[in-house]
């Protein structure tokens, strides 16, 4: 006679077995397909950045397949959810490279996740694309960083802000690598623009009470607040800043605001007027983007919250690789890398971009915009073809190919 407990246990074991059997094995492909891999966070706190990037990956792969694939073969993407956990990045990267034998690995969102993947990529000689804004400096033969970097964002935002609002800056940065390094770049560009840094503060990623910070800002009376805040918890700053009525008195500029759809979480009256700078905005008014946005909405629904710059960067990354593989006539990393270093250009939704051979970074056209009252941005200024000079001035992978490191600026 089974007790209830025993019956439950057997049922549980059976269900577990069935559930496991149902999960996709991740191997065994049609003979013609090319297997490619991607590692992104669909769950956990980082998924505010990750989910649009996951969608962009599918979108890009489908588009490449629809135009004939790569080398005449269709792509099959293996996508793992790294659950905002860096250990999983290393594990899954190893799995994708060794077991799924992907032709290229793309992914990583935070710099910490990228740094967890790079050693694996270097160890096994694989090809890796990091498609996300970051602090610059990665100089690695196997790695291509297509995201926007400080020279492109901060390098333009700071001089403009000094001109528009005045020379006294108050920097608020998330307390981690991106924040620290970017804050250093702010100092550098501020010096060049003859501005003055009143203070810089580093805020831990889990702080939600900005009362003391706001009070210090009020004491200091800056011309502008330069925000390098990141993540869901830091949205509290903008909310509390507006609650104290300060958003009407002190302008805020930021190279990070919007990447996590902060303008959707905040109400229009709280965020309106914040100035941001990115290569891509959903509102970009060019032929290629109009078509792209329409296709995106058709695929993912007209009610899609907002197509972020990260999503556009992912799209660019996949297409650049596909172009290079076709040009090289092969999937071998060394040959594709050579093709990638041959001076590729691509007509992206943001405009024409170029992949810089020496630094493995992308030359972007950046746009400045203000948050508007429709949960989006109104673009008001464009700077064309900005080089990733922050990395380029220290990294030449053509002259010195054997590098696998990240440079950090020493001022």
């Amino acid at each position: 006679m089974l007790t209830r407990r025993q019956a439950l246990r057997r049922f549980g074991a059976a269900s577990l077995g069935l559930a496991l059997a149902d999960l996709p094995p991740g191997r065994g492909q049609a003979a013609e397909e090319i297997v490619v891999g991607t590692l992104l966070d669909s769950t956990g706190p980082i998924n505010i950045y990750g989910l649009p990037m996951v969608d962009a990956t599918r979108f890009a792969i489908d588009d490449i397949n629809a135009s004939g694939g790569v080398l005449g073969r269709k792509l099959r993407v293996v996508q793992f959810d790294t659950q905002s956990n860096n250990q999983l990045y290393t594990q899954y990267a190893t799995q994708l490279i060794l077991e799924s034998k992907v032709a290229v690995l793309m992914g990583g969102i935070t710099s910490a996740s990228r740094e967890a993947v790079r050693p694996v990529v270097d160890k096994y000689g694989a090809l890796y694309f990091y498609n996300e804004q970051y602090e610059g400096g990665v100089c690695d033969k196997n790695v291509f960083c297509t995201g926007v970097t400080p020279a492109q964002q901060i390098g333009n935002l700071v001089p403009w802000s000094v001109q528009e609002y005045g020379p006294k800056f108050y920097t608020l940065a998330a307390d981690y690598n991106y924040g620290h390094i970017s804050a250093d770049w702010v100092k550098l560009y501020l010096q060049k623009s003859k501005g003055e840094l009143l203070a810089q503060e580093f805020i831990p990623l889990d702080v939600v009470d900005f009362g003391s910070v706001i009070q210090r800002i009020e004491s200091a009376r800056p011309s502008v607040v330069f925000s390098l805040l990141v993540g869901g918890n830091h949205i509290a700053f903008y909310r509390q800043f507006a609650a104290a009525g300060l958003n009407k008195k002190i302008p805020v500029v930021s190279p990070t605001f919007g990447l996590g759809n902060e303008q959707i979480v905040l109400k229009p009256e709280e965020a309106e007027g914040i100035v941001v700078i990115y290569p891509y905005f959903q509102e970009l008014d060019n032929e290629a983007n109009r078509k792209w946005v329409a296709a995106w909405h058709q695929r993912f629904g007209a009610g899609y919250p907002y197509i972020t710059d990260s999503a556009s960067t992912v799209w660019n990354g996949w297409h650049l690789w596909a172009m290079a593989a076709d040009k090289a006539g092969s999937l071998e990393p060394a040959k594709v890398i050579a093709a990638l270093e041959s001076g590729l250009t691509f007509d992206a939704p943001e405009g024409r971009i170029a992949l810089d051979p020496q630094s493995h970074h992308v030359v972007h056209t950046v746009h400045m915009a203000r948050v508007n009252d429709k949960k989006g941005f109104t673009i008001f200024k464009t700077v064309e073809n900005v080089e990733p000079s922050d990395t380029k001035q220290v990294c030449d992978l053509i002259a010195k190919p054997g590098q696998h490191t990240q440079y950090t600026p020493k001022f």
Partner: protein
Amino acid sequence: MDQVLVTAVGVLFAISTLVLLALGLAVIFGMMGVVNLAQGEFLMLGAYTVLVSTSHGLPVWAGMALAPFVVGAIGVLFERSIIRFLYGRPLDTMLATWGLSLALVGAVTLVMGPATEGIATPLGSIEIGRYSLSVYRLVVIAITGGTVLAAYLVLGHTRAGLVARATMQAPGLVAASGVDPRHVFMATFGVGAALAGLAGAVMAPLTGVVPSMGLAFIAKIFITVMVGGSTVLLGTAASSGVLGLAESAVSYVSTPIYGQVAMLTLALVLLRLLPDGISGLWRERR
């Protein structure tokens, strides 16, 4: 002078939020011995209740009043289905509530998506000298005071409170006097969840509401409750006062990083000196 006043309000606000956040856990962990790692998610559910109700046209205050009931009901649901099998097994409650926390974050992300429009802070701001102060902060301080007072009155001066306290100490006696202890456990857990829901609802107009927002609070409130010790109300209030004061005072003087380190270090010192937490100062160790 105006700076002193605004700083004082800021520190009081930080203490109040800590009290409000920790109170629910003080009930569930302090009174019932359930190590509820999902307390942060109950907070999150309270915040989302306000979001959902305002998006359907209800005023913010109505949503905040609604949140404790909604989250309290959800708490009772989990108590009936999971927690009640685990009384007396604190470590197993840890494991189960960890699983519950994962499931709740995942479920909310599936249903609501990772980025939902939030609520702006109501009531605007007032000028104090050269500083502007958000009026809502004063409201939060008031709500906290009211909640603590209500908890004190209910726990100490009503029959329900008496029954609850008695059940925690001597369930057999309570059963013998005609009250089913299991119902008391269920209600108490519900109250603890409701308090968390209220705290989350109050926080909603202050921060970005995302499914993983609970993670920012859980470690802090656990430490606060432990330093508070076994008296639910006074212990938690005192502990929040001391730790909240340390964190915010140091934050105001330097930066939030040192504020957090100061709070953690003070907690360490207090734990070393007071084995039963702050409660040990006025209570015999049982």
